[in-house]
């Protein structure tokens, strides 16, 4: 790991360790869940060059299945989250297989349409509870031993899930597999001519991204004890895009910073209703027109070191 990234990681760990003493644990947990979600999305957009507009499907199904497993099947929280992650993995494999058949903007439209299909499924399927969602999900006890009901205890579990996911993504991006992904992003025909089966690489990246998005969704369901249609609807897909764009596409820490900003913004502006949507739209437009590198991307440019 380059020194700039090592320092940034140390700062991030220090922030996560200090945060519950300084801020509301639930707020920080929300940031961490969305940061992991955005990081998973960034694996696809930033490193494979694939713009998925349907990540809500994996986040939302992860959320629903974790909630269902914890509430109805009585799973312990870690098993519930794994259930959500596995569901998202399976869904990601099926949808990824379809979506990688087209490129560029078609890829974006296909993933969006498939995710909307999942949304309509969730509206009708009995287990999701329709408009009410799955409420009063028990937080349960970790491994059946450690009671997670207090926010402060749960916080360390969520922090561990986030860091594990974050480091796993770092590992993927910096592995030979990640190098090939970047090669495909930059010049797919050349990567193919070098003998790489680009479709296999893209599919695996898609599945990994969906899996981690599902784990983020499942963790969110345990934290807030609820899974609803909001988790699986298209604005949720847009949020992953927004956080990554604002933080910096293809940077390691960008999605985390983006998630921090957007979640904070949503919390501060909650009382203004639909203005949140307008402001998010304005951020989108501003980022695309004048700020394409994002916060971390600009920082990276300024210090001339990768972040």
């Amino acid at each position: 790991m380059p020194r700039s990234q090592a320092i940034a990681l140390a700062l991030l760990v220090a922030f996560i360790a200090a945060a519950p003493f300084l801020l509301f644990p639930v707020y920080v947990m929300k940031v961490l869940c969305f940061a992991l979600y955005a990081c998973a999305f960034n694996l696809l957009l930033g490193y494979a060059g694939l713009l998925s507009f349907g990540h809500a499907a994996y986040f939302g199904m992860g959320s629903y299945l974790s909630a269902h497993a914890a509430k109805v099947w009585g799973f312990t929280p870690e098993l519930a989250i794994v259930t959500g992650g596995l569901t998202a993995t399976a869904l990601g494999a099926a949808f990824g297989y379809l979506a990688i058949r087209r490129q560029g903007i078609y890829f974006a439209m296909i993933t969006l349409a498939l995710a909307q299909m999942v949304y309509f499924f969730c509206v009708q399927a009995p287990f999701t509870g329709g408009e009410d969602g799955i409420q009063a999900v028990p937080r349960g006890a970790l491994l059946g031993v450690l009671d997670l009901t207090p926010d402060f205890t749960l916080y360390w579990v969520v922090a561990a899930v986030f860091l594990a996911g974050f480091l796993f993504l770092y590992r993927i991006v910096h592995s030979p597999f990640g190098q090939v992904l970047k090669a495909i992003r930059d010049n797919e025909p050349r990567a193919i001519s070098l003998g790489y089966r680009s479709d296999d690489y893209k599919l695996l990246a898609f599945v990994l991204s969906a899996a981690i998005a599902g784990i983020a969704g499942g963790t969110k369901a345990i934290v807030f004890q609820i899974a609803t249609l909001t988790d699986v609807n298209w604005p949720m897909s847009g949020e992953a895009v927004l956080m990554t764009l604002l933080g910096g596409i293809g940077t390691l820490f960008g999605p985390v910073v983006g998630a921090l900003i957007i979640v904070t913004l949503q919390a501060e502006l909650a009382q203004f209703g639909a203005w949140v949507t307008v402001i998010q739209g304005v951020i989108f437009v501003a980022c695309v027109l004048a700020f394409r590198r994002g916060v971390v991307g600009e920082l990276q440019q300024a210090i001339r070191r990768p972040l």
């Binding site: 379809l98 299909m117 203005w275 307008v278 998010q280 739209g281």
Partner: protein, 294 residues
């Protein structure tokens, strides 16, 4: 009447009603295809502009006393003008970048438009009466009675779609347009103002969406979410049809509307998702789309 007719009649009826949805799919996917062909931008704001068309019709009626027929002309003009401003001030800066940025920008615009309308009018929806001229007995098609206004939607959408197709494929201006799609630099060198054509194309595509919005106002309640619901289905329609062909996108739009109608007969629960399922099947069998070029 025979047994077979008894079986077929509901299909015929629902299929005909499906043409109404198909009319909107056709106009919207046509607009998307025209804009994409010329600007290489997927206009995510298309749904929001459709919704804006409906709202402008409502505002014209309630604030200025201008009725349906006036709105059918004025709303597309006003929203199209907004499209021109958007293209000049924002989209025009992105032509040299990756196509994805156009998608992201217009997604942001869609959020702004939708959020603004939700702030101004709430999310519950506003009523828009079926215009006076259509409060007449339904049209007798032999196998069913079709409400006059819905019949009008199908007819007028066909006229608009075929008119657009004719303008692009058969007129001189259309030939410039098609040439500029293939070789913009060369066409520019011949002294044709290509940037102006791009602006006009975007404005016209947006106006088409707004026109569809006015048509939709009396059928669906005028509400801020109506655009998003439509645009995602239209994206699937566009993937199925492929954006390479103008006529292809029109035909695909109507066909999918009809299939949606059929689905309502034998498995109503799937009618919301059938378009997406067909998209998945098309991707498996013919990834470039039915009318697409590789």
């Amino acid at each position: 009447m025979s047994e077979l007719w008894y079986e077929l009649e509901p299909f015929l009826q629902q299929g005909t009603l499906g043409l109404v949805n198909g009319a909107f799919y056709a106009i919207l996917s046509l607009g998307l295809a025209v804009i994409f062909g010329m600007l290489n931008v997927v206009n995510f704001a298309h749904g929001a502009q459709f919704m804006l068309g409906a709202f402008v019709a409502w505002m014209l009626l309630n604030w200025a006393g201008i009725g349906y027929w006036g709105a059918l002309v004025l709303a597309p003009l006003l929203v199209g003008l907004l499209g021109v401003v958007i293209e000049r001030t924002m989209i025009a800066r992105l032509y040299k970048l990756d196509h994805l940025y156009g998608l992201l920008l217009t997604f942001g615009l869609a959020l702004i438009i939708e959020g603004t309308m939700r702030n101004a009018f709430g999310s519950s929806g506003l009523p828009y009466q079926v215009p006076e001229a259509f409060r007449i007995p339904p049209v007798d098609l032999g196998y069913m009675l079709m409400p006059a206004y819905r019949f009008w939607i199908v007819v007028v959408s066909l006229v608009v779609c075929l008119g657009t197709w004719y303008a692009i494929e058969k007129t001189k201006l259309g030939s410039y347009l098609r040439a500029a799609v293939e070789r913009p630099q060369l066409v520019q060198a011949f002294g044709i103002n290509v940037p102006l054509m791009m602006t006009a194309t975007y404005g016209a595509g947006v106006a088409l969406a707004a026109f569809a919005g006015v048509l939709a106002a009396p059928v669906y309640s005028v509400n801020p979410a109506m655009g998003a619901n439509f645009i995602i289905i239209v994206f699937a329609v566009v993937v199925i049809g492929g954006m390479g062909s103008i006529l292809g996108s029109i035909v695909t739009g109507y066909i999918l509307g009809v299939i949606e109608g059929f689905t309502r007969v034998f498995y109503p629960e799937a009618s919301a998702t059938v378009v997406f399922v067909i998209m998945a099947i098309v991707l498996l069998v013919r990834p470039t789309g039915l009318f697409g070029r590789a």
